[in-house]
Symmetry: C2
Subunit: 197 residues, 2 copies
């Protein structure tokens, strides 16, 4: 699971990381908000109606979901379970609240990384430099970042995205190390296999 303030470079880091880590599954969230210009269904999000989302809630299909500014956002459990069964590393780009929920509810070993800029000032500079957001959106993101940084303690690893290359390498190390963790079932299978004469 990868969290951190918007503007810290998460998407770029994830894109570079997944090239190097072997079989993975990138978990795509489902939302009821309207797609923005350029967003494609099944790429940035799965875009669904409020009725469909609520039916999925009722059916217990979400690992976690939340309401943000009146829209639902959620993570479907079925594709994740399938990917885990296939031995894939499941990659989540998730906010700090979603991270907490997944940690509590996912019956699998989780590894989490908080990705941020070296300082708040750097984040501010990067958000203004990319010129893709309105002043209002930037201010909202900066306020959000100040509260997100408070929760860095809940994560296993901290990556400070100062130099892109170094941050990518750091993330690859974490992902490859994450593959070396095994849940109780896998460890018991390993022990049985190991002892077999």
């Amino acid at each position: 699971m990868l969290s951190g303030p918007s503007g810290a470079g998460k998407s770029t880091l994830i894109r570079e990381m997944v090239k190097e880590i072997g079989p993975y599954f990138f978990s795509i969230s489902t939302t009821t908000r309207a797609p923005r210009a350029g967003e494609r269904d099944g790429v940035e999000y799965f875009f669904v109606t409020r009725e469909a989302f609520e039916a999925d809630i009722a059916a217990g299909h979400f690992l976690e979901y939340a309401t943000v500014h009146g829209n639902y956002y959620g993570t479907s459990i079925k594709p994740i379970t399938k990917a885990l069964e296939e031995g894939k590393l499941v990659v989540f780009d998730i906010d700090v609240q979603g991270h907490e929920s997944v940690r509590k509810r996912l019956n699998a070993i989780t590894t989490s990384v908080f990705i941020t800029t070296p300082t708040f000032e750097v984040l501010k500079t990067r958000l203004f430099a990319r010129q893709s957001d309105s002043l209002e959106v930037i201010e909202k993101r900066l306020t959000m970042a100040m509260s997100e940084i408070e929760r860095v303690d809940e994560f296993d690893f901290l990556i400070v995205n100062d130099t892109l290359d170094e941050a990518v390498q750091a993330l690859i190390h974490v992902a490859k190390a994450a593959r070396l963790r095994r849940d109780e079932t896998a460890l018991n299978a390993f022990k049985t296999q190991w002892r077999k004469l």
Copy 2:
């Protein structure tokens, strides 16, 4: 911390790993047993008298210690604290009992790896192949290995040393990821620095 059965290739893996991981400190144990042929004071162990060891116990100088076959083995705390203050990654080659003690007592973030062969049979073959131990010693090691494997669950990561190169790479990933973990003090310092305007 690196544990695992004797014969799993730990020493080789550690030697290759430390070349790649940046500033580190390899923790050397202290013992009251006599040096074996080829063993040097301050390399394999610090060799001390029983009186000196017991004085260190009384003075609280050990992070952990144990008695094995009538000899003391222990880990001095001072060089470790110093190395951690210098920002070094402290590397321990430690048995499963020592691992448990260090986990409980070291006031720092720990990362642990259990290293083993793919199977018991492979371990047996490797121990016989290296022709450095008596049959009695090999038997003792194999018995020990059977009980050590039971405790693999206590470790953060499992590395199966099947192909040396792959195991070395895996260990490097874990060590580099371990550097991305920060204790509460370090995280608080980071947060303060991050928010500074």
